[in-house]
Symmetry: C2
Subunit: 125 residues, 2 copies
C-alpha cells in the first residue's frame, strides 16, 4: 500500500533566465521566493492555492503543461503582467496568451470575482 | 483594483492522444474526468489539492512547466504509473522522470508519508 498525489508544479527555466523568472513570478503572485538549500536549483513559493486541473486537446503543437492566471479583469491583469516583463503573444475568446521572461507560456483567463477560485486571489491596485 | 491568482493547470495534448491522456491521468489520480460542455476541448478533474510552486533552473533545454507526483514509495508508484501507460525516461537522486501517454513529461518524487503535502494523497493497494 502506498500513497501519491500531484505535489508540485515546476516552472523550468534555462539558468541564464532564472533571475528574470524569479522576479517576474514573485511580482505576478505577490509572493517572495526562496532558493533551496539542499537543492539550490529550485526557488520555491511554498504552498499555493488549490487549482483546477485540466487536459486540453490541442490541434497542433507539442505536448506541454501551462498555467492559467485567473482574474476578474483581463486587460488590467495583462497590463500588470506586461509591466513585470511578460509579453503578449496571442489572444482568443477573451483570454490572452503570454510568455514569461523565463520563456514559459501561460494564459490570462477571465473569471467572475465571486467565483470560488477567486476568493483567495491577490488584490492589485 | 482587480484580483488574480493561478487558477488552473492545463496538460496540453495533441488531439489524437487525448483519450490516452484522459485515461492515464484518471488512473494516475484516481479521479474521473469530464469533458467540458461549453469548451469540449477541455477535460476537467475539478479542483485538485494545493501544491508547492517552484521555479527550477535547468542547465539546457527549452523552458517548460512540469508536474511532480509526490509519493511515499517511488518504485511502487513508478510501477503503477507504468502499468497505466507512462514510460520511464530518466532517473536521478531517487526521482524518476516519466512521460505520460499524451507526451507530457512529469517526475515521481519521494516524500515522507507524514509530510504535510501527503495528508490528502490517494492510497493505492
Amino acid at each position: 500500500m502506498h500513497k501519491s498525489r500531484i505535489g508540485a508544479i515546476c516552472i523550468d527555466v534555462p539558468a541564464e533566465r532564472r533571475e528574470a523568472a524569479e522576479t517576474f513570478w514573485s511580482g505576478a503572485l505577490g509572493q517572495a521566493t526562496r532558493r533551496g538549500e539542499r537543492h539550490p536549483e529550485y526557488s520555491t513559493f511554498g504552498v499555493v492555492h488549490q487549482h483546477v486541473l485540466l487536459i486540453q486537446a490541442i490541434g497542433a503543437g507539442e505536448p506541454r503543461v501551462h498555467l492559467d492566471v485567473h482574474t476578474d479583469n483581463v486587460s488590467a491583469e495583462v497590463a500588470r503582467l506586461a509591466a513585470l516583463g511578460a509579453t503578449e503573444i496571442d489572444g482568443l475568446d477573451g483570454w490572452v496568451v503570454m510568455r514569461d521572461p523565463g520563456g514559459s507560456v501561460f494564459c490570462v483567463v477571465p473569471c467572475d470575482a465571486d467565483d470560488a477560485t477567486m476568493t483567495d486571489a491577490a488584490t492589485w491596485p
